[in-house]
Symmetry: C2
Subunit: 306 residues, 2 copies
């Protein structure tokens, strides 16, 4: 049997997932969640965000949590850094990869971080220069790559323009954030066609939210077009904290099920991801909505798929 | 703007959905559910099944329910008929379309209807001859088209063999049942490539269960390959009745959201499907898991998509 092609999975549950969960999670429970995720074979975990204290209460323990992480474990832990100060704090704790973020919509960056796209990119220029000297890898998020809650549909050329500037700064990967989970595969195809006209697919990751249940279909289209890196959250954590049942990030379980059964290798043990999901589900006191998680948990049927 | 291509949706919630729901639903509530579905613009509704009394308790009121349906309404109501007697009963009530069913796996037909595939096809031969004389349209289900809970993976050539025989009998459409909801788009692609090597895509419908969250991705692949007819259940009714939260049929809401935003027309008003879903959700006393339903219901964000 030929060796399967590998897909990179970045687990964003501890950061993007939890920041959208209403119920506060203690630092030690976050640490245990991250530990369980690591046991599943996940190689890249976005652990937290060094935003201004108070901006995101759920992530206000970024420093205490980061102190507990073992940066020698072979797992790549990353943290979001909104500015130079956040970057410096992160690398003091031992992070060797940080993530910066902007969006393809000015209204979104304005509401989110009170800056225009251009202003946010200028801040990151400062970080990226330092990161080269420090040998720190920088990953960038572009949010609202298909649609923005304030501006509606975003044109692929707007995303291309932002991507160009970020790649010029030396980010090694751009995570394309379909932040509000409204896109359908056609729209993802249009976006990727535009981006891949200028840049290699290997420079991009797919970051799909599953608000309308389209995330796996969008991941399938991205995979078909050459994307080999995806972000996901264990159990499908996140979503809109005030809307019970509304979906968040695409679930790691659904994504791994899809990829492994499509002939790719993720190196991730589904049952062990489910242990992490079951743990965090208890802590946030709500049921998770990953369909693969629910199906495997209830073992409604069992089929040997290979 | 050019006219959009139409997609046929067959709502199977009252039959395939409810038959997998544990909580009994009264005939008048089923009738109200069907009435609300009709108001949404859905043109084809599979109302019930004329199986042996007692075989499926939830559908044992097939006759009483069918008496209440208005077959002059312009909506095509259909019913499942497992044999000639079921067929005759159905047409007495006024059905002008019936559905027959078999599978691509002998183990499945044996467990399901205690017949081999071949035995089941012979019974339907009897029905289909009469249907020609009666000018009744016959639709056929082939279950387990990708995988069987007893046999594992099913080869596309097994499905082709069954499809050939059914089309020879004059069925006007074959609904390809991915009964256990384990398939990924690659597998659907292999199946359709085999079938479309011999037959037109217009002879087939996609019937995807969402057990592992792959249904929309499978529908997207099918659409890309030429399928223009899909089955779905309002709210994603059904699933495994003893596994809380496990997914059933692909949700009508998710499917309509996907198709309408992909540039196709279904003629269906999403908000009105949600009225039907909300109604039946109360009656079965459980929350539905359609992500589009949950997203629109909670209005976490609102984006003009067109």
């Amino acid at each position: 049997m030929p060796e399967k092609e590998s897909i990179k999975i970045t687990e964003v549950g501890p950061r993007d997932g939890l920041q959208n969960e209403y119920k506060p999670v203690s630092t030690s429970d976050k640490f245990e969640f991250i530990r369980l995720l690591g046991l599943s074979g996940i190689q890249c975990i976005e652990a937290t965000s060094f935003v201004k204290p108070g901006a995101i209460p759920q992530l206000s323990d970024a420093s205490v949590l980061s102190e507990k992480l073992n940066f020698q474990s072979g797992i790549t832990y990353s943290a979001l850094a909104p500015n130079k100060k956040g970057y410096e704090t992160a690398i003091q704790f031992g992070y060797r990869e940080i993530a910066i973020f902007t969006a393809a919509s000015n209204s979104f960056t304005k509401k989110n971080i009170n800056k225009t796209i251009q202003e946010s990119i200028e801040i990151f220029l400062d970080i990226s220069k330092q990161a080269v000297l420090d040998k720190i890898k920088v990953r960038a998020y572009i949010s609202t790559v298909v649609a923005c809650p304030y501006e509606g549909i975003i044109s692929p050329s707007s995303v291309l323009e932002v991507a160009k500037q970020l790649l010029d700064q030396g980010v090694y990967e751009i995570s394309l954030g379909e932040t509000i989970g409204v896109a359908v595969p056609n729209q993802v195809e249009d976006l990727l066609t535009t981006l891949f006209g200028k840049f290699s697919p290997s420079l991009f990751a797919g970051h799909f939210h599953d608000t309308y249940g389209m995330a796996i279909a969008n991941a399938a289209k991205s995979l078909e077009m050459g994307i080999r890196s995806f972000d996901s959250s264990a159990g499908g954590l996140g979503g809109c904290p005030y809307a019970p049942g509304a979906a968040g990030n695409v679930a790691t379980e659904d994504l791994v099920y899809f990829l492994e059964n499509s002939g790719y290798s993720t190196g991730i043990d589904l049952n062990k991801v489910m242990d992490a999901s079951a743990f965090i589900s208890q802590k946030i006191e709500r049921n998770l909505i990953s369909k693969t998680y629910l199906a495997l948990q209830s073992r409604c049927e069992s089929v040997a798929l290979s």
